[in-house]
Amino acid sequence: MNDAWLIILKRDLLLAFRRRSDVATTLFFFLIVSSLFPLGVGPEVAVLSSIAPGVLWVAALLAGMISLNRLFAADFTDGSLEQMLIAPQPLALLVLAKILAHWLVCGLPVVLLAPLIGLQYALPNDALLVLVWSLLLGTPTLSLIGAIGAALTLGVRGSGLLVALLVLPLYIPVLIFGAGAVAASQHGMSAQAHLSLLAACSLLSLVLAPLATAAALRISVE
């Protein structure tokens, strides 16, 4: 039964592998956005390191968001989504597999790249470590919540912009806790509380988001 879950995960990873350039686009976007800020605010180390947590997190947020419309759109147009809907498997589980694949392909690379960019922003080592942890705990939530928005806007005109409008306000807690964690460690405080809250958000969305996404897909495929 749970076999189907793995099939979808493998299939999506295989598809991403055959379209590697798409993955690179997300990463490249993250890189560009976070490189724009020093050009905008100037290269003073003190300023850069004070805005670093927020900038890196916002960049990660946006990178996760622009890749969202790829989550279901292709399956929707070629009909494999409706086959998933009528498969004798729990839809929420299949959806979770798709979200996991999306995170592995679009989220994880950002997490891994972030410390490099953190160096450009003169973040100390402790803060870099916390940055990685916060992204590791927080970006799954972004993919999970984003999936609801992507499912709701399937096939709607202007869905790319609409998904931003729907999803970004819901990303705010993750942004606050994530950037807060890095900032706390910069100021020599413990980031424990922030990271725990990020983990809590992840768990909550892990339980609720696949169900909501499955419901949204049923609505959108009608």
Binding site: L152, V156, L166, P169, L170, I172, I176, A212, A215
Partner: protein, 247 residues
């Protein structure tokens, strides 16, 4: 044979009922507003710290209350519509959204008007104002999603799901913003402590809140009537209505 009880809450029977209810709520809103404004501007004492400027809270606080209440009521209607497949519920949710957004905007504008004399800035990143701003985004997202889906049934159901997701998130957002605010020690508009709450002031606010509430009901009913006519333009009862109007 299964009886569909929700047929009785069908647009066809609700349309004339709403028409009868609107003037009642509208008049109630007007009377409550006059009484509320009288208390707020005439009876309530001048604050010894803030002078007359504080009187904006008689609009600001009830508007902020209503913006939250309407979101919850909207989500409740939407959820009901989703669960029971009742068209009228979804229409109510759709009709409430613009009013909710307007109250949110009103709370934001009055909040910043109040902030100017108090803190010398039009905008402070205070927890309440920031939460209001995010609430406005949630309303706008709901409205944008509904208006960009052509099929009304899909629009209803997608909007309902979004409203429910929003309602789950609102407490989390509110908590996170508060947490963020205390960490950054931003200035805070503290409603409880700023002017000492005299009984008359509380009464004024309550009356204004009730007036806003009645206004919301009246306006939502008006809007829901328009939505009904638009949605059901090919239904027999709407055709009969328009024929009756012509003859």
């Amino acid at each position: 044979m299964k009886i569909n009880w929700f047929k009785y809450s069908s647009p066809q029977t609700f349309y004339p009922l709403a028409e009868k209810m609107i003037p009642w709520f509208a008049w109630l809103a007007a009377i409550l507003a006059v009484a509320g404004l009288y208390i707020s501007f005439v009876m309530a004492p001048t604050d010894f710290q803030q002078g007359e400027a504080y009187r904006i809270i008689f609009v600001h606080v009830p508007a902020a209350w209503m913006s939250m209440v309407i979101y919850i009521v909207m989500a409740a209607w939407a959820g009901l519509g989703l669960a029971l497949n009742a068209r009228l519920s979804a229409m109510m949710a759709q009709a409430l959204a613009p009013t909710g957004a307007i109250f949110t905007l009103l709370a934001l504008v009055t909040g910043s008007l109040w902030g100017k004399p108090m803190w010398g800035a039009w905008w402070v990143w205070d927890a309440r104002l920031t939460s209001e701003l995010i609430l406005l985004f949630l309303y706008l997202g709901f409205i944008a999603l509904q208006s960009s889906i052509d099929d009304p049934r899909r629009a209803d159901r997608a909007g309902a799901l979004l409203a429910l997701v929003g309602v789950v998130n609102v407490p989390i957002i509110y908590f996170s913003v508060k947490w963020w605010n205390t960490l950054h020690q931003g200035s805070s508009i503290n409603m409880g402590a700023a002017p000492k709450m005299a009984a008359t002031m509380l009464l004024g606010m309550l009356l204004m809140a009730l007036a806003f509430w009645m206004y919301t009901v009246a306006v939502a009913l008006m809007r829901v009537r328009c939505i009904m006519l638009e949605r059901e333009r090919s239904a027999d009862w709407v055709k009969a209505l328009s024929l009756g109007a012509k003859s």
